[in-house]
């Protein structure tokens, strides 16, 4: 690594490029990504065939590389040609313009700037998904993981308790939301004909999701009341028990399919719906943890006695944070059920718990950005490693273990989520001003 870095540092051309890229704001990168995706959409498939692949690789060529190592050079060329090069070129060459635009947008209002960025991001993802349905599924599952991870971070990171009940909350959310949508809007063998006209179904879907979230919150009460009298390992044990109780409860309820699972959920969670749900979740959780009410959870975590002596109602703070987190776990479960159109209790077991915990700790405790990166990163890794089949469950843990040895605190731990900082222009003047 070192000699390469040295070459880069000494090469004036590369230096110039690096400097330009550093000056590119997020807006420029998003524009670059959008153009790259458009380029892939236009000529991705033919070029991939020329390079010896069947079609444009689904996930940045990693799956192709794992399946047939002969194609590694082709896949690399493809990634450089269609993703790295166009994005960097556009970001680098438009840096000046984009900085002006980013500054202008922030000048109008943070919200407008945020919406423009989100719009660009969504457009990019949507076009990227147009080429391959599998990509859309991965994106949807990744965004649902973001919601689950962020909500677990509220408990394990911000509140500093170790909760294992998230799969249980997700199961509650998934089943309650599914029962509502299937009972009300779907012709089903068990529940019979729809009670309401299916036309209004998609509009009622948010209500079903919220109901699922609230059901999870009620479940959280059952965990919180006995375990929040003291601190320590009690919550970990009780919450783990809760996950198993929910799982076996569902397994024994024949009316909702028991261990065979529950199906027929309408496909009401396409990419835009999941994306919007994730954005709302991130916005609300980020706003909560920045407020003094939310930061009280961190005070309780760092020293509960001191928090109590400084007017913080510690019991209420813990309750609110826990129920709040459970709500979002429930929402993520509801979305999950309506992405797959099928859920079974086996999904919400230890494996799910391990997955979400890994996402939280790898991304970094006490950090909104960390949870987003952790969730998307691990979800992508899981999909990328799928060609390894059973070996995936060896390789993935090893990657996580090695990673945690290098960075024990996770990728981005203990940072505040500052939207303005992320959206700001990158020229030096602005930095001094802001």
């Amino acid at each position: 690594m070192a000699p390469i870095m040295k070459t880069i540092r000494n090469n004036s051309f590369l230096q110039g490029v690096g400097g330009r890229l550093r000056q590119a704001p997020l807006l420029g990168w998003l524009l670059g990504a959008l153009l790259a995706v458009v380029l892939e959409l236009l000529v991705g498939d033919p070029v991939a065939r020329t390079l010896g692949m069947d079609r444009a690789p689904a996930l940045f060529g990693f799956r192709v590389m794992l399946k047939s190592p002969v194609l590694i050079p082709s896949a690399l060329v493809y990634v450089v040609l269609f993703y790295a090069l166009p994005t960097m070129l556009v970001a680098g060459f438009t840096a000046g313009w984009m900085n002006k635009a980013a500054g202008g947008l922030l000048g109008v209002s943070t919200l407008v700037s945020l919406l423009v960025h989100l719009g660009l991001l969504y457009a990019t993802l949507h076009l990227w998904g147009t080429l391959n349905d599998y990509r859309v599924l991965v994106l949807r599952l990744a965004f649902i993981s973001v919601i689950a991870t962020l909500s677990l971070n509220v408990v394990n990171g911000y509140l500093g308790e170790f909760s294992c009940s998230h799969p249980g909350f997700m199961a509650l959310g998934a089943y309650v939301a599914s029962i509502i949508t299937v009972l009300l809007f779907v012709q089903d063998d068990v529940f019979g004909s729809p009670l309401l006209p299916p036309v209004i179904g998609p509009f009622a879907f948010p209500i079903a999701l919220i109901a699922g979230g609230l059901a999870a919150s009620v479940g959280a009460l059952a965990v919180a009341i006995p375990s929040f009298r003291t601190r320590g390992d009690y919550l970990a044990i009780i919450s783990l028990a809760f996950t198993f109780i929910v799982k076996s409860l569902i397994e024994n309820l024949e009316v909702i399919g028991g261990p065979r699972g529950f199906m027929n959920q309408p496909q009401w969670a396409p990419l835009p719906v999941v994306f919007v749900a994730m954005v709302i979740c991130v916005a609300i959780i980020a706003s909560f943890v920045r407020s003094t009410l939310g930061k009280a959870t961190c005070a309780v975590r760092d020293d509960e006695t001191a928090a109590g002596h400084l007017t913080i109602n510690t019991r209420r703070t813990k309750m609110v944070a826990f129920l709040f987190a459970a709500f979002w776990a429930g929402v993520s479960g509801g979305l999950f059920a309506h992405v797959l159109g099928y859920v079974n209790p086996g999904t919400f077991g230890l494996l799910k718990l391990t997955e979400v915990l890994a996402m939280v700790y790898l991304g970094g405790l006490n950090s909104v950005v960390g949870s987003i990166v952790g969730a998307v990163g691990i979800k992508l890794l899981q999909e990328i490693l799928r060609p390894l089949e059973i070996l995936k469950w060896v390789v993935l843990p090893v990657i996580i273990i090695v990673f945690m040895m290098v960075r024990p605190t996770g990728l981005i731990a203990f940072t505040e989520f500052d939207v303005k900082q992320i959206l700001r222009p990158h020229n030096s003047q602005e930095r001094r001003g802001g």
């Binding site: 009410l293 006695t305 007017t311």
Partner: protein, 256 residues
């Protein structure tokens, strides 16, 4: 009516009698000291007043309201601020957040405001932040506002803790060894700060100290505690020459 009135307070930890028949009356603007050898029960008295423990016997009232059975956060919100012997700061948080959080009881926005970042939330946070900066400025630590507390020198951490206690907007301030671990320079500075907040806010201050110089210089009235019982009380001059006090302290040195 006394600001704080403690009558016949007794507390047992299992079979151990930590505090016995303790009486105390503090008026607005008093500056009182509590001294005594290690393990005499001084911090226990603070913990009993602030609601960390409930006394086995006796009564405590503040501004005429009984404090018995109330939880610490309620007692603090009534107007009793405190610092701790071994600095209980929140190690992952910034100086500014410490002081902001102590305004918790005065937050006038609800959870929904916090979720959706409403105008009311923004106004509330701005108000809290302004108050926090004011306090940090008074303690002379505003330039550390965005530092995480664990990165700061010990003397600054003590001041942050004091600023945090002041953010409760107390009428009575309990200081548990405010100069412990400080060098002489920091100690003199801290004494200045204590005197300043006492004069400026007409604050009643009750402090535990090991350093005789601090207690003798600051306090108008001193109680000496040994084995949970008051063995002497009076003005600094009376305490200085009291043979019982001298014996309690010399006895401790013999043991050590």
């Amino acid at each position: 009516m006394a600001l704080l009135r403690v009558q016949d307070m007794t507390h047992h930890f299992g079979g151990l009698r930590a505090v016995h028949d303790f009486d105390l009356e503090i008026e607005k603007g008093d500056l009182r000291g509590l001294i005594g050898p290690n393990g005499a029960g001084k911090s226990t008295i603070f913990n009993l007043i602030t609601g960390m423990y409930t006394p086995t016997e006796g009564t405590i009232s503040f501004k005429g309201v009984s404090l018995l059975g109330r939880r610490p956060y309620e007692i603090a919100a009534l107007g009793i601020g405190r610092t701790f012997q071994n600095l209980r700061l929140w190690r992952h948080m910034t100086v500014l957040d410490h002081v902001r959080l102590a305004h918790y009881s005065k937050i006038d926005y609800g959870l929904l405001d916090a979720f959706f970042g409403t105008a009311r939330w923004q106004r509330g946070e701005k108000q809290i932040e302004d108050l926090a900066y004011e306090l940090l400025e008074m303690m002379g630590v505003q330039r550390f506002a965005h530092e995480v507390v664990t990165n700061l020198p010990y003397g600054v951490q003590r001041k942050v803790e004091l600023a945090r206690a002041m953010a409760v907007e107390p009428e009575l301030l309990l200081l548990d060894e405010p100069t412990a671990g400080m060098n002489p320079e920091e100690m003199v500075e801290m004494m200045g700060v204590i005197r300043q907040i006492h004069d400026e806010f007409e604050l009643a201050i009750y402090l535990i100290e090991h350093r005789m110089k601090v207690v003798m210089d600051l306090c108008e009235y001193i109680q000496t505690l040994n084995f949970g019982e008051v063995i002497a009380e009076g003005t600094p001059e009376e305490i200085r020459d009291n043979p019982v006090v001298i014996e309690a302290y010399l006895g401790e040195e013999d043991e050590g």
